[in-house]
Symmetry: C2
Subunit: 281 residues, 2 copies
């Protein structure tokens, strides 16, 4: 099946050619199909921000009677937990295959999906190193007053297996960043807004869930070395690619939706322009 797919695929069969030719680009492709063509054990760090399967059933109206612009994109629709689990098992398995034994993976989610992801990681043989909580300084309130304000998301950091050795953790750099004390598992960042948030032609958010660049940069700096290869299987608007490039890591990224791919490539072109010719004072 997989072999047949490979032969029929229009894209280059790169399984045994290394991945040099794929680096530094956001590839428009299905994530699992793309990963299946990569050679084993070829990346050092993975950052994955998959669909959350939010299962939103109704509209939500604010107290001022405006409607909340919720995540209702096609890519977040799954036919129940089983379908979501199956999808995640597929991409996580491929991630594990392409991860070097010295590499680590990060996954982000909310209570809607993170418990499924965490258990899947463990079932697939990954070994969790930490869970980290992103504490949001400015979360959306709970308008109906029926729950606690959902003010955090969860990140999981895992190595390839219990026995895997030699993963990268830049302890000293993290300690320095935290004012001389060990970096803890609770990280505080604001939502991605303002100039950092990519907008489309109408001035509206281009992607519903763009992550704060600073947070992804911390992950890249903590868990990889300059020259390492960083992979993002759900690239979205390319935040991981930007973080990797800013810190001298090599990278490759996959994204299904063409409009996100275009936006990400624009963003990266702009970054490179700025780097070559820094802002005039």
């Amino acid at each position: 099946m997989l072999l047949a797919k490979r032969k029929n695929s229009a894209s280059v069969a790169h399984a045994d050619k290394g991945i040099d030719g794929l680096l530094g680009k956001v590839h428009q492709a299905d994530c699992v199909e793309f990963l299946s063509k990569l050679p084993e054990a070829c990346v050092d760090l993975i950052f994955a921000d998959p669909p959350y399967n939010l299962q939103l059933r109704h509209e939500l109206i604010r107290p001022n009677l405006t409607k909340v612009d919720a995540v209702n994109d096609r890519w977040d629709q799954f036919d129940g937990f089983e379908a979501y689990d199956e999808f995640c098992r597929a991409w996580l398995s491929e991630c594990r295959r392409v991860l070097k034994p010295t590499g680590t993976i990060w996954v982000i989610g909310t209570y809607h999906n993170i418990y499924r992801l965490g258990r899947l990681l463990q079932d697939l043989g990954f070994w969790i190193l930490n869970d980290v909580v992103w504490i949001k300084t400015n979360p959306m309130p709970n308008f109906r007053g029926v729950r606690f304000t959902n003010a955090h998301e969860t990140l999981l950091w895992a190595k390839k297996s219990e026995k895997a050795k030699g993963y990268t953790f830049n302890y000293a750099e993290m300690k320095a960043e935290n004012g001389g004390k060990q970096m803890r598992s609770d990280w505080t960042f604001s939502l991605c807004t303002g100039g950092e948030r990519l907008k489309n032609g109408d001035g509206r958010k281009l992607h519903p869930t763009q992550k704060p660049l600073e947070m992804v940069e911390r992950i890249v700096r903590a868990c990889s070395k300059p020259g390492d290869i960083v992979l993002d299987p759900f690239a979205g608007t390319g935040t991981t690619a930007v973080a990797a490039e800013k810190h001298g890591r090599r990278w490759l990224a996959v994204e299904q939706q063409p409009d996100y791919v275009a936006a990400a490539n624009d963003r990266l072109r702009q970054l490179r322009r700025q780097t070559e010719r820094p802002t005039v004072q």
Copy 2:
């Protein structure tokens, strides 16, 4: 099997007698066996602090060459994830059975077990309302400098099913407690230490993971009403019972280990004495 067990059991068969006679006591029993004898839909709130399945493989030595007193009790030993899952499926199923349709359950854990518990909750039909992170002001550092300081634990709050209605959430009280703003999903408490921490004869901690009373009190006040019935299937040293009693809730608790049961009952006797005859000024 279960029926036979019931007949042979020394404890009273209380399945069809209500649970009034069981209230206000810490029962020494196997949790699943005890719960299986309770009638359906008889409790309003459950707080469960199950074994974490820490999977500690080696001793951990501090930089000053002292040994870390880790959780290595028999009750935290499981034969892999599968055995742990099976155990949790059993007690969570019983919890769901005895929970009223208007009731909710809280479960606490770390990355070692919380992803298994969260997914199990979802698979059993519970509906997660929030995950809450307990941010520790004074966590144990990571002595080897190979991971981030593990500075939080995770609590899950769920109702009996997606369709379940009428659960208790004392929104206004929580908002007041948080200085007039909605209570968020990140809670900061210090570890249970000092006078609150129960000690045995040697002056050593009696229980390895005694939870901060203030945190459990918040849960009791947020999610139950005076007179409601609170259940703790892993009572340990009776923190949930103390919290319930302090706030005028009825309660019942189960604990396997006789020494914990004795300590919890001592603690509750002391609380009642204080309540009857407040401290002389």
